[in-house]
């Protein structure tokens, strides 16, 4: 393949949607050797930059800079589902003030990076949730807020409740509580920022976070 060819990054298909169980998804993360690769041209270009004298400084600095930029402007889409949404709104308001972390609650999924699933996800709501998540541009993250979104919570055995939002979308941070106070959600958002700081464009799994894993 000639070097003049423009690099064509092939975005891998979202494979997680075929998995019903969180365990299966995590198992895949463990067994997948190299992560989601881009095209061979892209790979060779990346290798070329790394092998260039001093190239690794460029790439690591660029990575760090991009991740700093990413984690400093995480815009959560306002997706309130239940009583957790009240606590989420309190977190967004002036007393806790997430705007100092660069988070602007935004009413459009197309401009957002983060979805805070705050509340019970019903089976009727799940397709809409999935659609809004799909409308968000990559890279994107999801925070599952409260017992209901984590596992179904007190409504777990109801006929209409999804037993955890991780059956619908991949989740990065789980915030426990029923509902979690704004301090808990804020802590979750800070942990998410830690995670974003380790974000790699190749899709490799972030190194374990000492604070949570």
């Amino acid at each position: 393949m000639a070097l003049n060819d423009p690099p064509v990054p092939v975005i891998p298909a979202p494979i997680w949607r075929n998995f019903k169980e969180l365990q299966e998804w995590e198992e895949l993360h463990k067994t997948r050797p190299e992560g989601d690769k881009h095209s061979p041209v892209f790979e060779s270009l990346t290798e070329g930059i790394h092998n260039f004298p001093g190239g690794f400084v460029v790439t690591t600095a660029a990575d760090a800079f991009l991740n700093w930029a990413r984690k400093s402007s995480v815009w959560p889409v306002t997706f309130g589902l239940a009583c957790c949404a009240i606590e989420m709104m309190a977190t967004f308001c002036s007393r806790f003030d997430v705007e100092r972390l660069g988070m602007v609650p935004w009413a459009s999924p197309r401009h957002s990076d983060l979805m805070i699933v705050s509340g019970t996800v019903t089976i009727k709501m799940a397709p809409m949730l999935l659609r809004i998540y799909d409308q968000m541009p990559d890279p994107k993250w999801a925070v599952s807020m409260g017992s209901c979104a984590n596992s179904g919570g007190p409504f777990r055995h109801g006929y209409h409740v999804v037993k955890g939002v991780d059956r619908v979308i991949p989740v990065d941070v789980y915030v426990p509580g029923c509902p979690p106070p704004p301090e808990s959600l804020l802590n979750g958002l800070l942990l998410l920022q830690d995670q974003i700081a380790h974000f790699k464009k190749t899709g490799r799994k972030a190194p374990p976070n000492e604070k949570v894993d």
Partner: protein, 149 residues
């Protein structure tokens, strides 16, 4: 018509025993269901349709319950009818009370009771492709619903 008059007239018209109190509980056969509602509206003066729901008595079958009120005279009627084992059809109250429309749709959604001559009988809360009727006792807890549970 006050409570005592309502009790006497309902008891004589439908031939049932009614205990005094609020609400007056009137239990009739399914064939008299619509006639009872009409009587409650026109004669007793219960213009306010409060709610309609059902009870699953397992092998004894389903029971439809409706509450109507005469707010001026403070008369409340609890109308009941037992459909019998295995029966899932019942007369609709929508010709009598327009408010019964969505209540009966919900009842159909949750219990699978088909209300005859209902103008628009389809699911109201659950999605159209839903299998089963979740408030029946025979509906198992944690019934799987792929791909979400």
């Amino acid at each position: 018509m006050n409570g005592e008059q309502a009790r006497a007239s309902l008891a004589s018209t439908f031939g049932v025993d009614i205990a005094a109190g609020v609400p007056l509980v009137v239990t009739v056969a399914p064939e008299q269901w619509e006639a009872l509602a009409r009587y409650a509206r026109d004669t007793v003066g219960c213009l306010f349709f409060n709610f309609l729901t059902a009870v699953d008595w397992k092998e004894q079958g389903l029971e439809v319950v409706a509450r109507v009120d005469n707010l001026e005279e403070n008369v409340g009627l609890m109308l009941k009818t037992k459909l019998g084992p295995g029966v899932t059809s019942c007369a609709s109250l929508t010709p009598v009370y327009r408010g019964a429309d969505w209540m009966e749709r919900e009842c159909f959604d949750m219990f699978g009771i088909h209300f005859d001559h209902h103008p628009d009988l389809r699911r109201i809360l659950l999605e159209d492709g839903w299998e089963g009727h979740p408030l029946l006792k025979s509906y198992a807890v944690d019934t799987p619903h792929p791909p979400y549970r």
